[in-house]
């Protein structure tokens, strides 16, 4: 430790702004009685999620910008030296609407699971009977339902891709088809990451991990899941209406 002692007093040390020896203001560090470490950890996890989502948003902003730019870009025909537009929007399969509904419902089940986990964590702080887990089955089944719906969405996306291919639209068929596959594929990858997070939370629940850690995991995954649903709606609107 440093070699000073707190009892040394100074002769009027010059300072440029105020603050004469008072104890610095309380900063959020979670050691007040009453406010729990859970609050701090939850806040920190949520902050981390917001920051992480910002990074993911930039990925999709880049793709969106490439999409808009490519749409408007005329192509030079080297034979005739004429500029022409080569953007022909892809007719999107109706199946995508069903998939959207499935994803939005999964957001509902996810929200129920999230609130259940939060309630359980609050209860656990007061009722400290070890081994008792009320509503454990209920909580797991809402999580499980979300996983099932999420996987159904992904399966539905895969089927939509098959339908597109059947109508002759492959990845490289046209600029617009490339973007359809790109945007839906990237979203699917990120949603699958969410599914993995849910499965991990589910496993942790079955392994009887502490309720507060579970609540934080489910909370963060829940908000991520909602964001993925919002992102999907955005992508669908981009593909359908911006052309």
């Amino acid at each position: 430790m440093a070699s000073y002692t707190p009892t040394v007093s100074l002769d009027d040390p010059r300072t440029s702004t105020g603050g004469n020896g008072h104890i610095p203001p309380r900063h959020h560090d979670g050691d007040d009685f009453g406010s729990s470490f859970f609050d701090v950890r939850l806040r920190r996890a949520r902050l981390g999620l917001v920051v992480g989502l910002t990074g993911i948003v930039m990925i999709f902003i880049s793709f969106s910008s490439a999409y808009v730019v490519r749409q408007g870009l005329p192509t030079l025909d080297p034979r005739t030296d004429v500029l022409f537009h080569d953007w022909f929007p892809v007719p999107l399969p109706r199946l995508l609407l069903i998939n959207t509904a499935v994803l939005l419902i999964s957001s509902l089940t996810m929200e129920i699971a999230r609130r259940q986990a939060a309630r359980k964590a609050a209860l656990a702080q007061l009722v400290s009977v070890p081994g008792v887990s009320m509503h454990a089955k209920e909580e797991v089944s809402w999580l499980a339902l979300t996983v099932v719906l999420g996987l159904s969405f992904l399966a539905g996306q895969w089927m939509a891709w098959r339908q597109l291919a059947a109508s002759g639209f492959y990845v490289a068929s046209s600029p617009s088809s490339s973007f359809v596959y790109l945007l839906t594929g990237m979203h699917g990858v990120h949603l699958f990451g969410g599914v993995v997070a849910l499965l991990t939370a589910g496993a942790a629940s079955l392994l009887r991990r502490p309720a507060d850690s579970l609540a934080i995991a489910v909370d963060v995954t829940g908000w991520y899941w909602h964001f993925m649903a919002f992102l999907w709606v955005y992508i669908l609107c981009l593909l359908e209406f911006v052309h």
């Binding site: 010059r14 192509t75 030079l76 080297p78 034979r79 005739t80 030296d81």
Partner: protein
């Protein structure tokens, strides 16, 4: 150590500055109408920035020596800064930097914002791995069509640019590996590339422009003195990038006409 730092920093500064002032290695003599303006602004920039460079390095060396820790010396000045000074030098720097830029903007505008003049000589410049080809439209003033399928770089000349010989306008097109231009007449270059990005760079003309596949970029410059001027490719284009060079020969208008007529006759 303070003194050594001062000496070394000052030495590096003055030696570097010397070679700038002596122009030991410098821009080649300008041979286009735009060169005078560009070179003049270059000089303005390098004088102003040179002063800043020398001043900053001299001060750094000076302070390193002057404020070295000495056994008997006053304690360091306890100061957290000076807001007035901060504002003053921020504003001055902003005026210097943005001012310089605005000064150059009129030259940029005249080079790039306006299209070529109506009487300019049109030359189509095509870059490909790893050669430049130049096409002149001939007496009909029209460039014939080209077909990507007909492009055959190994055959050189008309085949290299994929000239569509069935198009009547192609009959009088002249394709060469050396660029000719008459002096004191604006040249409009139509810049294309076949495969990857190249860049058409003629140092003496103070001219540079990337040639991009999928684009036909129209630009212009006016040679004002006769001579042979090397053309270098200035955008990494593959293993032959270093040897993708050409030559611009600026001649009198009548020598140019004779040359072009001779090329037409060969066809």
């Amino acid at each position: 150590m303070g003194l050594v730092l001062l000496v070394v920093i000052w030495l590096i500064t003055f030696v570097s500055a010397y070679f700038f002032i002596a122009k030991t290695w410098w821009l080649p003599t300008g041979a286009s109408a735009a060169a005078a303006g560009i070179d003049h602004h270059f000089t303005t920039t390098y004088i102003l920035m040179g002063i800043v460079f020398v001043a900053a390095q001299v001060l750094l060396g000076l302070f390193a020596w002057k404020y070295r820790d000495r056994a008997a010396g006053s304690p360091a000045r306890y100061s957290h800064g000076n807001n007035t000074l901060e504002i003053v030098w921020t504003v001055l720097t902003l005026i210097l930097f943005v001012g310089l830029n605005l000064m150059s903007s009129s030259i940029w505008a005249s080079e790039r914002f306006r299209p070529a003049e109506p009487g300019a000589l049109q030359v189509e410049v095509t870059g490909m791995q790893f050669a430049w080809y130049f096409r002149y439209a001939g007496p009909d003033g029209k460039f014939g069509a080209t077909k990507p399928e007909s492009i055959d770089p190994s055959a050189g000349g008309e085949s290299a640019i994929g000239l569509d010989t069935t198009d009547p306008a192609s009959k009088d097109d002249v394709v060469t590996g050396t660029m000719y231009a008459p002096v004191n007449r604006e040249v409009e270059v139509i810049l294309r590339a076949h495969d990857v990005i190249h860049s058409f760079f003629v140092p003496s003309m103070r001219f540079k422009q990337d040639v991009v596949p999928g684009l036909a970029i129209h630009m212009h410059f006016t040679p004002i003195s006769t001579g042979d001027y090397e053309i270098a490719c200035a955008e990494l284009c593959g293993l032959g990038h270093y040897k993708m060079h050409g030559m611009l020969k600026v001649v009198s208008q009548e020598d140019f006409d004779k040359w072009l007529a001779a090329r037409e006759a060969e066809k």
